[in-house]
Amino acid sequence: MSDPSKEWPLWEVFVRGKGGLSHRHVGSVHAADGKMALEHARDTYTRRMEGVSLWVLPSAQIIASDPGDAAALFKPAEDKVYRHPTFYKIPDGIKHI
């Protein structure tokens, strides 16, 4: 059996579709280092002009929220509808607001 410590590490790949857009996660690649990860990302995720810029970063460096905490993290926003402009009733006659 292979030794897991000898497997090339995993890198997450982000592509900027075109100038003006932010980088978006598209998948991952294995590579020995960052330079190779960029090369693999280019070959794997941009064969059809999908992007103008690439980011790669070690998957192990991503700190993700726990789905179990989703309610604690995101539910409180639900009852704060006053954070949205549509919460406020403004008479039809009032313009530019």
Binding site: S2, K6, E7, W8, G27, S28, H30, D33, D43, A64
Partner: protein, 334 residues
């Protein structure tokens, strides 16, 4: 390209030992067409079934590079050669998208590679048939990729997020594969008598194996029910097979080729074609590894893996040395 689940050997993974409350919440989410993401709770059987299905699918893409790669150096002209190179590269890419998706379920790339090379993991039976003539490249694109699209389009809505997203990318690219194949067949069918014979011969040899790609008939496919409920699968094998026949027969007729099935007949009442029985004995023989070029395919993959070992090792050691060097520089600069 695509493979159906081949290694279940008649026993579906069961969800018996799970926490009933967690399981109920999970099933409700899936039933509501929500996506399950890597860190979400999921039943072990769901995880195992997905690892098996996605890795088999990935293996099929990788092994699928071999029959077509066989013709790259002998493509009839530069245009066809550039197209075939791009297609085979796409298949490699599809394999990589899928391996990544499987890895989010906690299996490593090397474990999957080992399962393939040891013969433990299956891949689509279709790739254990040889590519004898150039027309086979046309038939593969048209029929094999056509069947793959039929299988894969519904999987864009499969319940596991990373798998569904990989399928979206794959489906976008697959359509070029099918069209270039059909174009090859179209040209051959409109060519000399010998070229037309070659196209018909390829259709004759690839038709039935393509129908087998949808997997065993529904009454012999025990995993189907659970997989449908969990939205790992969205249509049954027989439904997809019927759809493929209905779409493909007129395409063959349009270019003057004949589907090699004497029982094929339009059924007005059903609004679909009736077609002959698939030789399932042949299918199971190929699943058992008795395909014409099964050994050759495995040897090619083993050789690629072994020949690449020094490259993987050298790149890893080089990266480690560089990382140590950088750390020392950083310390020295303080």
């Amino acid at each position: 390209m695509y493979t159906t689940d081949l290694s279940g050997k008649g026993k579906a993974e069961t969800a018996a030992a799970e926490d009933p409350a967690m399981l109920a919440t999970f099933e409700a989410r899936v039933a509501a067409d929500e996506f399950i993401e890597p860190k979400d709770w999921m039943p072990e059987a769901y995880r195992k079934t997905l690892i098996r299905q996605i890795s088999q699918h990935a293996h099929s893409e990788i092994v699928g590079m071999l029959p077509e790669g066989n013709w790259i150096t002998r493509a009839p002209n530069l245009r066809r050669k550039a197209i075939l190179l791009a297609k085979v590269q796409d298949e490699g890419g599809h394999g990589l998208y899928l391996y990544c998706a499987a890895e989010t379920l906690g299996v490593s790339r090397d474990e999957m590679t080992e399962a393939l090379l040891s013969g433990k993991a299956k891949y689509s039976t279709i790739f254990n048939y040889p590519t004898l003539t150039w027309a086979d490249i046309g038939a593969i694109g048209w029929l094999v990729d056509g069947a793959a699209i039929m299988n894969q389009v519904p999987l864009q809505r499969t319940s596991y997020g990373p798998y569904a997203r990989a399928m979206v990318r794959i489906c976008k690219e697959e359509s070029f594969h099918q069209r270039q194949g059909y174009e090859i067949m179209m040209h051959l069918a409109a060519g000399t008598e010998a070229q037309k014979r070659m196209a018909q011969d390829a259709l004759n040899r690839w038709w039935w194996p393509s129908l087998m790609m949808f997997g065993p008939p529904d009454d012999k496919s025990p995993n189907t029910e659970q997989s449908l409920r969990w939205r790992i699968k969205r249509d049954t094998n027989d439904e997809l097979r019927q759809k493929f026949v209905d779409i493909t027969v007129p395409q063959a007729e349009a270019i003057g080729l004949t589907v090699p099935d004497p029982a094929l007949k339009w059924n007005e009442e059903r609004g679909a074609y009736d077609f002959g029985d698939v030789d399932w004995e042949e299918f199971y023989a190929v699943v058992r590894g008795e395909g014409a070029v099964a050994k050759e395919r495995m040897q090619a993959r083993q050789k690629a893996w072994e020949d690449g070992a020094w490259v993987r090792e050298a790149a890893r050691v080089h990266a480690e040395k560089k990382a140590v060097g950088n750390r020392q520089l950083a310390v020295g600069a303080r």
